[in-house]
């Protein structure tokens, strides 16, 4: 449902069809309210991470709509959609590698085990 709303905003914001009787503030608060509820309810950490990433992108997208950065807002809405789709995926995404703060790349143990097979 929220993905529908995000794509709707990607397409129309800030020039919503008049009959829809909505505006940027209303759309943003509606989406963020839904998202905050979801973040508060999820138990799986990876899902929570995706939702928080999505939330951040949504906030940036609406900020860019307000500043007139159409390309930027489009991109952020699309990122948000992808993050939320990841959150809705039933299986956690497979981690291929992890980059440590210093830049070092490590392969998770399970991957190492697989690669040794």
């Amino acid at each position: 449902m929220v993905i529908e709303q995000l794509v709707y905003n990607e397409i129309y914001a800030p020039n919503y069809p008049r009959e829809d009787n909505t505006n940027l503030t209303r759309e943003e608060s509606r989406i963020l309210m839904w998202l905050d509820g979801a973040i508060g309810a999820v138990r799986r950490e990876d899902i929570g991470d995706w939702l928080r990433l999505g939330r951040s992108s949504i906030e940036q997208a609406f900020a860019k709509v307000r500043s007139g950065d159409e390309n930027g807002s489009t991109r952020d809405f699309q990122f948000a959609v992808q993050y939320l789709r990841n959150a809705l995926a039933r299986k956690p995404h497979k981690v291929d590698f992890v980059v440590k703060p210093g830049g070092a790349v490590i392969v998770p143990p399970s991957q190492e085990a697989e690669s040794q097979d």
Partner: protein, 460 residues
């Protein structure tokens, strides 16, 4: 039901459900009581600017007729004073009926494949073909004698001539229900009317999202362009003095010039429609009418109050579902145009493993559904498990196999499933068969964009 011995000649019956002064449903029966046809009438604001302010004159939006397995949608076209002068098919945009009248409503001609399917004619009133009378609510009007067939229920308060129709000025006056005569456009300002009419027509041409192919079909022919251009020039020249003033008052002096310029460039009309359009320019009049056209009927709260808060006797619910179906088609058209425009501008990426049909189809589905949810929310129509309207909800195999499908929209009361696609979905597609099977016999209506290009198989 056996034939009434008092009326042995009766071969069919029609029952009518009314909402104030407007019929909203007619059901035809044979003499033995078998239903043969249903016609749903969808109404918007009439020439008064409100839903029933002029008892529906010029306010009929659509006729949906269900006869056996055939469903047809007809959209009425009006002249300047609310007479139905034609019908176009709601799907193809083809002209299917034409009516013409004398000034007092004398039916001069009617033709077209669907001319009989619209009972509304002069002043958008029910026409009784057997008697030749129009039913206005309080009285029957006889266009042959140009008088009412009974006295004015308002007695002399309505004028000394108790039988005169519109004080003998049917072009300048309205008599919505056969009782009180009023000016043609109550409280209107001709200059404002003309400006609103121009705005409406700009919307008409530039905003196919509002009206779809059916209406645009009237204007996409290259025939008769010169004749129409002459008409248009006459109208626009006549309005030129007024438009800049109105536009300046709106704080947007360039807008009207662009509108007129755009109209002059793009208006073409098939043979026979030139006069209609000319009349409509002058006649879709009144500030309220302009507001209505800018702000399509579906957003008018009074209309939804009428539909959703009326007694839930079943028929009203059916009417509500019709509005939902109409809106979903319109949202689908809107979404299709917007998504294609953005795709062509390079703003919609194609991810790995997808093709462009899939991406466009998914985006159109998502946007159309978002707007439908928005509409349902605004109209206070419940959606979700347990409700009569389901949007993008699981439809499980009742046999317990664990299989499921997710149709775009399911309308429980009318047993309709709406499935949008930018391509084609034949009825023998497994998905469609599952819809029918899992819902235990629902009708599946494939919703496709009726504007712009339609693709073959593919898409969502």
């Amino acid at each position: 039901m056996l034939p009434d011995p008092c009326f042995p000649q009766v071969s069919r019956w029609t029952t009518t459900l009314w909402d104030q002064w407007r019929p909203v449903l007619e059901i035809d029966y044979t003499a033995s009581g078998d239903e043969t046809a249903r016609r749903y009438y969808t109404w918007g604001p009439d020439v008064s600017g409100s839903v029933d302010g002029a008892a529906g004159i010029g306010g009929l939006i659509e006729i949906l007729e269900i006869k056996g397995n055939t469903t047809t949608r007809s959209l009425p076209i009006y002249d300047g004073i609310g007479n139905v002068v034609g019908l176009v098919d709601g799907t193809s945009g083809a002209r299917v009926a034409t009516y013409s009248y004398g000034p007092f409503g004398e039916l001069l001609a009617e033709y077209g494949s669907r001319a009989d399917s619209c009972p509304f004619r002069f002043q958008t009133k029910l026409y009784d073909e057997e008697t030749g009378y129009y039913y206005f609510g309080k009285r029957y009007y006889d266009p042959k004698t140009q008088t009412w067939i009974s006295r004015d229920p308002a007695r002399e308060d309505g004028g000394v001539n108790l039988y005169a129709y519109c004080n003998d000025d049917p072009v300048g006056n309205f008599d919505p229900i056969g009782e009180a005569v009023g000016p043609a456009i109550p409280g209107s300002n001709p200059q404002q009317n003309a400006y609103d009419a121009l705005l409406f027509f700009a919307d008409f041409i530039h905003g196919p999202a509002h009206f779809g192919k059916s209406f645009l079909g009237l204007f996409d022919s290259t025939s008769d362009t010169d004749e129409y251009a002459d008409n248009l020039e006459t109208v626009t020249n006549g309005l030129t003095l007024g438009i800049p003033q109105m536009a300046a008052a709106d704080g947007d002096p360039q807008k009207s010039a662009q509108i007129v310029q755009g109209m002059g460039r793009q208006f073409t009309t098939p043979e026979g429609w030139g006069n209609l359009t000319f009349a409509a320019l002058m006649g879709f009049a009144g500030p309220k009418v302009g507001d209505f056209m800018d702000d399509p009927v579906v957003s008018r709260p009074d209309r939804f109050d009428m539909i959703t808060k009326a007694p839930a006797d079943g028929q009203i619910i059916l009417h509500r579902d019709q509005v939902i179906m109409n809106n979903y088609q319109r949202y689908y058209n809107d979404a299709w145009e917007e998504v294609v425009n953005r795709f062509n501008a390079g703003k919609i990426p194609i991810s790995e493993g997808q093709n462009w049909q899939m991406v466009l189809g998914q985006n159109v589905d998502l946007v159309a559904r978002a707007r439908l949810r928005n509409f349902l929310l605004g109209a206070q129509i419940p959606e979700g498990p347990g409700a009569d309207v389901l949007v993008n909800r699981w439809l499980r195999d009742p046999s317990g196999s664990g299989a499921y499908r997710i149709p775009d929209v399911r309308l429980i009361q009318t047993g309709n499933i709406l499935e949008g696609t930018i391509g084609n979905k034949p009825m023998n597609l497994q998905q469609i068969q599952d819809f029918i099977s899992f819902s235990q016999g629902n009708n599946v209506i494939i919703v496709q964009p009726t504007v712009g290009p339609i693709f073959g198989n593919g898409g969502d």
